[in-house]
Symmetry: C2
Subunit: 188 residues, 2 copies
Amino acid sequence: MESGMAVIEKKEKASREDWLLATLDVLRERGIEGVKVVAIARRLGLTSGSFYWHFKNLKDLLDAVLTYWEEALTGHIIEDAIKFEGPAKERIRLLMQQVIREDASRPDGAIAVWAKSDADAALSYKRAMDRRFEFSAWLFEQAGFGPQDAEIRGRMMVMTLMGETTNGLKNSDGWEGILDRHWRVLVA
Amino acid sequence: MESGMAVIEKKEKASREDWLLATLDVLRERGIEGVKVVAIARRLGLTSGSFYWHFKNLKDLLDAVLTYWEEALTGHIIEDAIKFEGPAKERIRLLMQQVIREDASRPDGAIAVWAKSDADAALSYKRAMDRRFEFSAWLFEQAGFGPQDAEIRGRMMVMTLMGETTNGLKNSDGWEGILDRHWRVLVA
DNA sequence: GTACTACCGTAGAGATGTCTATGGTTGACT
DNA sequence: AGTCAACCATAGACATCTCTACGGTAGTAC
């Protein structure tokens, strides 16, 4: 079953952020229980000895992962959407495209599973999801839907995007068409 | 971080199916890398020695899990929906309710993550998803939508249900209302 | 009571993982 | 040339996991 994990990038020196990003890769591919110090070190072409220079221990790294996911990976999409100036429905389309385009780097599915067994992850996950639902509802209100309708459409958008993301939509043929048709149903 | 895993059920003797069901619980809660022989044995109040009476090895168990998930956990929902006699839109509502009601026992999210790192799981996952998409498209065609529209609405339904499932919709207040509003948008 | 089936426990080898301790190495600055 | 900061490797104690080997037990069948 195991096919081994290759050394992805051989760097002379790795920063704390390099370790963090490599961890996100492992998290996405192997799930939370696959996040081992030795596995991440192997991926970076380093040893575990160097890990403990950057992080106190494994938990320290996992906390950093959650914080990064909440702030950067959820936050920047919202910020970009707020900045956008133009029709509200186009803003929704833009956000959907951006999420799918980041497809490969999003560990959302793995974090959802992680949240089932870990209290800290569950807190982060709930905060992020609530934020997404709230912002998505706002997006659809701006597009002219009433509060109740906006809420459910926003919720559907978030769910659909998470589903397509864990499903790897971007790697399939005609993903842009599929996304466009999702959008049409949502803003209809 | 680890809070230990309690002995859930202490049985005198366990069958192959008991091991399988316990594995599904662990899979859902800890992800694929958390599926360890000792962990499942602990949950059943047994030791790993007994595991190897029922299964050749860990891979043997994991194959059984995939087969069971594909055939039973995906299949019976489709079968129930086919059996239903009544308006096509009501059939859709029924299916959605059934999926959410089974919420707690569905390991779909964990299998999606698993599929990222394992070829066998990826095959099972793709087969199951294709079957769901195909059947869902049929459901919406029966409800009067054109092929293209039916396909995208079916896809959205599957994604939304998977999202709400990994999100634990059933454990939240007013989940029936939320589900009903999802349905209304989809069949509108 | 003997035998057989179905199941379980224990012990242990070997692999893999966390984390500590300690000692390189490399480039920038002086 | 010397020093310091930043980063990495190695070794090893200790824990956890897979899987084998082998012996034990409870129920049923005769």
